[in-house]
């Protein structure tokens, strides 16, 4: 699952705004969406209508149709995929690249403000 170790609890703090996640849809249109800490990058994108994230299994790491390329600058926030996700990534419809992730496995943390992904052009 998520490999990022930063403390995500923000209870009691009014200073931490909801982090804004940035999605480049296939074709390049940018969507900037306020994320809920603990939700996945997939859920946040799908619920708000970011095109191109299919997410057929709803986040169970079973479909590989929520494939995104994580922006270089954001990559260090999420680290590497675990074994299951790594195996699933072998079956993505768009080419797997070093910054490929399944967005359902990326959990939004307090310090994700500006976290940027490019939705893979082909998901199925």
């Amino acid at each position: 699952m998520n490999t990022h170790a930063t403390e995500s609890a923000t209870a009691g703090s009014t200073l931490v705004a909801a982090p804004t996640i940035r999605y480049y849809a296939p074709g390049g249109v940018l969507f900037e969406i306020e994320g809920r800490i603990g939700d996945s990058v997939m859920e946040t994108g799908v619920k708000n209508g970011v095109p191109g994230i299919v997410a057929e299994c709803g986040g169970a790491c079973s479909c590989a149709t929520c494939h995104v390329y994580v922006d270089e600058a954001s990559l260090e926030l999420v680290g590497a995929p675990d074994d299951l996700e790594d195996d699933m990534l072998e079956g993505t419809a768009s080419e797997r690249l070093p910054n490929s992730r399944l967005s359902c496995q990326l959990r939004i943390q307090a310090d994700f403000n500006g976290f940027t992904v490019h939705v893979a052009p082909e998901q199925i």
């Binding site: 809920r36 603990g38 939700d39 859920e43 799908v46 619920k47 708000n48 209508g49 095109p51 057929e56 299994c57 709803g58 986040g59 169970a60 079973s62 479909c63 590989a64 299951l84 195996d87 699933m88 072998e90 079956g91």
Partner: protein, 425 residues
């Protein structure tokens, strides 16, 4: 309404779940601009069902995280949600129709999608009304089950299918005494080969769940209105403070029947999701369609994949851009740390090939008919699953004689589809 010309009343979608939401979203993506109304019996934003027996029951997902779309999304796309109301009466002459909800609201339409899903199959036995006894089909069921589990020591699950076993695994992870009672002589008998059933029986027992096969339940017993146990044919009573009945689902057909649609174990649709009445489509758990892989016979698929893909086909039909259903069926079931992934349809297989190591809880079963690959069940074997899913989608084959050697990655032995006659350059 003013004295302008009356616009099209638009599309009515009955059933606000996976399939219904997908029909609406795809119609908008395809450029449909008339009104879309989704009416749903449940009084909350549409949400995902699969996590109800997994992450939600285990406490790792909350209700908000399961919502399919935000309220703002629907508003933004001009998709009107009528929630907490059930369509009772409906009529449609092929060009103009009207539905009336149980709250008396009248909804007019000129296109109709039925995405009414299925309801839990009821157990007709004495004692089913006792508190602590229930089903798991929707959020209300899941909330109740979660609350019941919080105080119970022992849990009985009637029915050894996917939902029962997933819930059993979740309950067991909380340290409950869990007994699964199954009438058939094996688990998940409808969906998987006997070898996979046996693996699941042993795997659940290793985790401390008691699995009893060939067990006929005769009723539920209780005291002061609460369940205390499950009575078996031979007079034995299995103690349980919570009983989950998971014996399958039945498609909801009332509305289809009112409209006079052809129904045979589901609302009959063709590969374009068209029912027997023009202007009416059906998709998801309520629909029965031609087998998408072989074209032979009809199937009703209870899966997310089908709910989504068939809804897309239905939407395309409604907007006048019909496209055939061609998706490879797939399914998954997470039971504790056992990830089962299925691709294809194994119905009618005459040979299976086992790969991997059942002891290590990492293996696959490939299904063949006349040497032709039909399907795969994979337990913690993502690479095999993904390879087969892709091969089936592209018409590729995996020779049965080579597949049994687990040291050879399946990927390396896929034979691609022969080019169609005349295409050879």
């Amino acid at each position: 309404m003013t004295d302008q010309r009356r616009p099209s009343p638009g599309t009515l979608i009955v059933g606000a779940s996976q399939s219904g939401v997908q029909v609406a979203v795809t119609m908008r993506e395809l450029g449909y601009s008339d009104p879309i109304t989704i009416v749903g019996a449940e009084n909350q934003l549409p949400y995902q069902l699969p996590p109800l027996s997994k992450a939600f029951l285990s406490g790792t997902a909350d209700e908000e995280s399961l919502e399919l779309r935000t309220a703002a999304f629907y508003a933004d796309k001009g998709i009107r949600l009528v929630l907490g109301e059930q369509v009772g009466e409906i009529r449609f002459d092929g060009t103009a129709g009207e539905a009336v909800t149980d709250a008396g609201r009248v909804l007019s339409f000129d296109l109709l999608a039925l995405t009414v899903g299925a309801a839990a199959r009821r157990l007709a036995l004495p004692g089913v009304e006792l508190s602590g006894v229930g089903y798991l089909r929707n959020m209300a069921d899941a909330r109740r089950l979660q609350a019941d589990l919080a105080t119970a020591e022992s849990v009985a699950v009637i029915g050894g299918g996917f939902i029962g076993l997933e819930a059993a695994a979740a309950a067991r992870s909380f340290g409950k005494n869990v007994t699964v009672l199954e009438t058939a002589d094996r688990l998940i008998a409808r969906a998987v080969a006997p070898e996979v059933s046996e693996f699941y029986r042993a795997a659940h027992e290793r985790r401390g769940t008691t699995v009893r096969l060939g067990m006929s339940v005769t009723g539920l017993v209780g005291s002061n209105g609460r369940v205390t146990g499950v009575a078996l044919e031979d007079g034995e009573v299995v103690a349980a403070e919570v009983v989950l009945i998971g014996i399958g689902v039945v498609p909801r057909l009332e509305i289809a029947e009112q409209l006079g649609l052809e129904c045979q174990g589901g609302i009959v649709v063709d590969e374009f999701a068209r029912t027997s009445l023009p202007g009416v489509v059906a998709a998801g758990d309520c629909a029965v369609m031609p087998n998408p892989l072989t074209g032979e016979g009809r199937v009703r698929l209870e899966s997310m994949q089908n709910a989504v893909d068939q809804a897309k086909v239905a939407a395309a039909t409604l907007v006048g851009q019909p496209a055939k259903y061609h998706a490879v069926p797939w399914f998954w079931s997470d039971q504790g740390n056992l990830k089962l992934q299925i691709a294809g349809l194994s119905t009618g297989y005459d040979q299976i090939v086992l790969r991997g190591d059942q002891q290590a809880e990492k293996f696959s079963v490939l299904y063949y008919r006349a040497g032709h690959l039909l399907a795969i069940d994979s337990v913690n074997g993502v690479p095999d699953y993904m390879t087969v899913r892709r091969a089936l989608a592209q018409g590729g084959q995996i020779p049965a004689g080579l597949a049994a050697d687990s040291s050879v990655p399946l990927k390396s032995i896929v034979v691609s589809a022969a080019p169609a006659a005349g295409v050879l350059a």
